[in-house]
Symmetry: C2
Subunit: 316 residues, 2 copies
C-alpha cells in the first residue's frame, strides 16, 4: 500500500516507518523537523519505497500538493507536540500542532478521496479518573491542553468518518519509551545526569503510576489494529499489561547507568509532575486483546531496554 506518515521523522513516527517499510509498503513521510530529526530516518532515505518531504502540515496548500501527486491509500497521522509538559504553559501550541494539523490532514484526505486514517490519540483525552479506562468511558474531561487537543481531533475525525465515508483507527497511546525519544521522563532524567551525576530531581512525588509501553511494541500494535479492526470507526486503547511508578523508573535509570547508590534522587513533591500531568491511570486492554494483540514487555522491561538504547544516543 501507498501510505503517508505525518511526523515520520519523530520519535514514534520513525519507528513506524521502519516497521511499515519492512512490511513492504510504499511510504511517504512529511515532517517539518521541528521535533523530528533527519537522523531518525537517515537509514531509510535511499530506500526506493520511501520519500521524504520537509513540510509543515499546517501548510494546507503544500499538503494538498503532496496528496495530489502521491495517490495515498492510507494516512498515519502522528504530527503532534509530543511534549505534554510544554503545552501547559502555551495554550496555542497543541491547538496548532495536534488539532489544526489533524483538521488539515482530514481536509486533504477529503479533497483527494483518501479514506483511511490511523490517528495517534492518547490516554490524556480521559483526564483524571480512578476507574479502569475502557474505550467507551465517559465523561471525557482532559486536564492538559495535550489531552484537549487530541480529544478535539478525535471529535473531528468522528464527524469526517460520518459525513464523508472515511474510515478511522483511533489508537489511544499510553506513555511510550524507547530509542530516539526527545522528551519524557527518560530524556529528562538522563540529561540531568549528563550535567550532574550526583543528583537528579524527579517532578512530583514519584508516586505517579502509569503504563509505559516500548515504542517498537507500540508501532507493532498500531499496525496490527489497523490491519485487523474492520469497522469504519475503530477506537483502541493500547498499552502494556501493567503500570510502573515514576520512582521505580528513576531507580532503573540509575541501575542501568551503574549509578545505583551513587546518585541522590530528589522529588519536587506534589502528586503531579506539572499542571496537566495525570498522576495515574489504568487502561482496560480487553478490546485489543480480543483482537489478538498483547504487549510482550512489562513496563519495567520496557524502561530498562529503553535506557540501554538511549545510553548510546545520549552519549553516556
Amino acid at each position: 500500500m501507498n501510505i503517508l506518515v505525518t511526523g515520520g521523522a519523530g520519535f514514534i513516527g520513525s519507528h513506524l516507518i521502519d516497521l511499515l517499510l519492512d512490511q513492504g509498503h510504499k511510504l511517504t513521510c512529511v515532517d517539518n523537523l521541528y521535533l523530528g530529526r533527519i537522523k531518525n530516518i537517515q537509514h531509510r532515505l535511499e530506500d526506493k519505497n520511501f520519500k521524504f518531504y520537509k513540510l509543515d502540515v499546517l501548510n494546507l496548500k503544500g499538503l494538498k500538493e503532496v496528496f495530489k501527486k502521491s495517490g495515498f491509500s492510507a494516512v498515519f497521522h502522528l504530527v503532534a507536540n509530543s511534549d505534554i509538559k510544554q503545552s501547559s504553559t502555551d495554550t496555542k501550541l497543541d491547538l496548532k500542532l495536534n488539532f489544526l494539523s489533524t483538521y488539515n490532514i482530514l481536509e486533504a484526505m477529503r479533497i483527494n478521496n483518501v479514506r483511511d486514517i490511523v490517528f495517534a490519540s492518547s490516554s490524556a483525552i480521559f483526564g483524571e479518573t480512578d476507574k479502569l479506562i475502557t474505550e467507551d468511558a465517559g465523561p471525557l474531561m482532559p486536564i492538559s491542553f495535550y489531552g484537549a487537543s487530541k480529544l478535539a481531533a478525535e471529535a473531528y475525525i468522528s464527524a469526517y468518518v460520518h459525513n464523508f465515508g472515511m474510515r478511522a483507527w483511533l489508537i489511544r497511546f499510553p506513555n511510550v519509551v524507547g530509542g530516539r525519544a526527545t522528551h519524557g521522563i527518560l530524556y529528562d532524567l538522563m540529561h540531568q545526569l549528563k550535567k550532574n551525576v550526583r543528583r537528579i530531581k524527579v517532578l512530583g512525588n514519584g508516586e505517579q503510576e502509569k503504563p509505559y509501553l516500548y515504542v517498537k511494541e507500540l508501532v507493532e500494535g498500531m499496525v496490527f489494529i489497523w490491519q485487523k479492526a474492520k469497522n469504519n470507526y475503530n477506537c483502541f486503547n493500547l498499552g502494556p499489561v501493567s503500570t510502573i511508578k515514576v520512582s521505580r523508573i528513576a531507580q532503573i535509570i540509575l541501575e542501568e547507568l551503574g549509578l545505583k547508590g551513587k546518585t541522590l534522587i530528589e522529588y519536587s513533591g506534589g502528586e503531579r509532575g506539572w499542571s496537566g500531568d495525570v498522576p495515574r491511570y489504568r487502561y482496560s486492554l480487553d478490546k485489543v486483546k480480543k483482537l489478538g494483540w498483547r504487549a510482550q514487555l512489562s513496563p519495567e522491561e520496557a524502561v530498562r531496554l529503553s535506557v540501554r538504547e538511549l545510553k548510546k544516543e545520549y552519549g553516556f
Copy 2:
C-alpha cells in the same frame, strides 16, 4: 454581577439577555450580527445596565479590549453557528464560529482573570445512540461538525478549568424552539408555507424524534444551573420531559396556521434530515432535576407556543 453575553443578539442569546437584565445584572453583549439581529435587543439598547458592541469574537485583539475595560465577573458564551445543517457542507464554519470563538473567549478570560464561563454546549456532542444519555455517557462520537466543534470546545474548557483555576457550567442544549428563531424546523417549514401554502417538504421521513425545549425555559434553566451548581466543572443536560416527532411538529404548524387538511406534507425520506442529523436521542435529566429544575412545557406545548409567536414575526 457584571456579565458578558457573547452572541447576545441571536435567537437564544437575546432571550438570555432579557432574563439577566430583568434579574438586575449589568450586561455587556458582543455580537458580530452575522446570525444575530439588532431588532432582538432593540428594546434593551437604552437600558443603563446594558452595553452592546458589534464585535466578532474571532477578533482576539478587540475582544481583549472589551474585557480590559469592562471587568466582567462571568461570561455566557453563546456565539455559535447555530445552523447544524449548514455545517455539513462547510467543514470550517463551525471550527471557527464554535471552537475557535471559544478558544478566544477562554484566552481573553485567562488574561483578564475572569473565572466563570457558562457555555452553550449541545446534545450533538454525543453523536448517535439509542441509550438514555447521561452527562457522563461515553463514547463521544459526534456525527456533525456542529457536534465535533462543541466537543472540541468542551475539551478546551476542561483544560482551562484545570490549569487556570476557572469554573465552568457546560449546558448541553436539546433542540430549542421559540420566538426570534432564524433557523430550525419551524423556520424552515413556515418559510416554505409563505412561498407555497399547498405543500411543505419535511427533511427525512418525519420519524426523527427529539426533545424540543421552549427558548424561555432554556435560558431560565441555564441561569438556574449557573446559580445553583457549585463545582468547578459542572455539566448538565437540559431539556423537556419528553420528545416529539418531526411529523407531529409539521402537523402542529398546520393546525396553528389554520391549514390543517389544506396543505400536503411531503417527506424527503431517509431516517435523517441531512448528513449530520441525529434522528433521535433521549436525555437523562436526573441531574438537573436533583438540582431543582424541570421544564413546565411539553415539547408539543413548546412547539405550539413557538409557532404562535413566530406567526407574527414571519408575517403570517
